[in-house]
């Protein structure tokens, strides 16, 4: 390996690592957002079912 190869390897590794980390972050974020939306909907549904009816009639959707 000549000196140019070491230089090339160093900068390639830096940008490859940063690029892979960005991809990992995007994937994690997308998975979490999907899971959050699903859970929030589940919580809302449960709370709605448990809430006492305001006008005496049962909650019907």
């Amino acid at each position: 390996m000549n000196h140019l190869s070491y230089l090339f390897a160093a900068y390639s590794i830096i940008f490859l690592a940063v690029f892979l980390y960005i991809i990992l972050l995007w994937r994690r974020q997308a998975q979490l957002e999907a899971e959050l939306l699903r859970l929030e909907e589940e919580v809302r549904e449960l709370v709605r079912k448990m809430a006492p009816p305001e006008d005496g009639r049962p909650n019907v959707t």
């Binding site: 830096i14 940063v18 994690r28 979490l32 449960l46």
Partner: protein, 236 residues
């Protein structure tokens, strides 16, 4: 089309990184004794700087979490340490790639290299604790303590080249107290690289913080859901 602040910052970071790369490969003169491989230094040093910054922020956030017990401090600490760890790993790799042609070896147990490796191991322990440990206040508090204790290694790394006999070059502040970059273009390139890598790490930190905040909200929601279901099923 309206650009969000994050997108504008990401675009500015890209411009800065490209400018830094142009300066490293085109603008700066080749160092006389080490040759072309010395150009690794212009990203190696900024990577070390942002790693220290990340670990420092992780320790401060850890202290705030222990004091105020607010989830946001734990999230900031976790994000900062993870980004710091990425750059600390890059410091060790780029350092080895510089050492091989200059020293003739990938690694030597020199004082600065050893203390940096210890720092890496300590924060690897921190991340392992976060991954393996359950999502609880106990684990978060323990991680905060690890982050605070581990950061004490950073001053040791900085002064190691003056405390002990070492073969690691002291370029920014030499043993006589001056800086070792004689050509002003070298200092300019280092300054732009510092700015570029700092901006890149700040953007990565912000992205990671968003993910960690979403994760915390997810755990909070799961707890609410479990409690609500238990209530609905008539649990006391």
């Amino acid at each position: 089309m309206r650009l969000s602040l994050t997108t504008a910052f990401a675009a500015a970071t890209c411009v800065l990184v490209l400018a830094a790369l142009f300066m490293v490969f085109v603008y700066v003169p080749t160092e006389a004794t080490q040759g072309i491989v010395q150009r690794i230094f212009y990203f190696h040093v900024p990577c070390a700087w942002v790693a220290f910054l990340g670990f420092g922020l992780g320790a401060i956030a850890g202290a705030f979490y222990l004091f105020f017990a607010q989830q946001v401090w734990d999230d900031i600490g976790y994000s900062a340490v993870e980004v710091g760890m990425l750059f600390c790993t890059l410091v060790l790799i780029t350092g080895s790639l510089w050492a091989k042609p200059i020293w003739g070896t990938w690694w030597t147990w020199d004082s600065r290299l050893t203390t940096t490796f210890i720092l890496w191991l300590l924060y690897a322990g921190y991340l392992l604790l976060r991954v393996i440990g359950e999502e609880s206040e106990r684990v978060a508090r323990l991680a905060a303590v690890v982050a605070i204790v581990a950061v004490l290694d950073i001053p040791l790394i900085v002064i190691s080249v003056r405390l002990w006999r070492t073969i690691h070059p002291a370029v920014l502040v030499t043993r006589s107290g001056e800086h070792g970059l004689e050509d002003p273009r070298m200092l300019q390139t280092l300054a732009v690289s510092m700015l570029a890598v700092s901006a890149l790490s700040a953007w990565l930190f912000w992205m990671r913080l968003k993910t960690v905040r979403a994760r915390s909200r997810l755990f909070q929601l799961r707890r609410v859901l479990a409690a609500t279901q238990a209530l609905r099923n008539g649990a006391p």
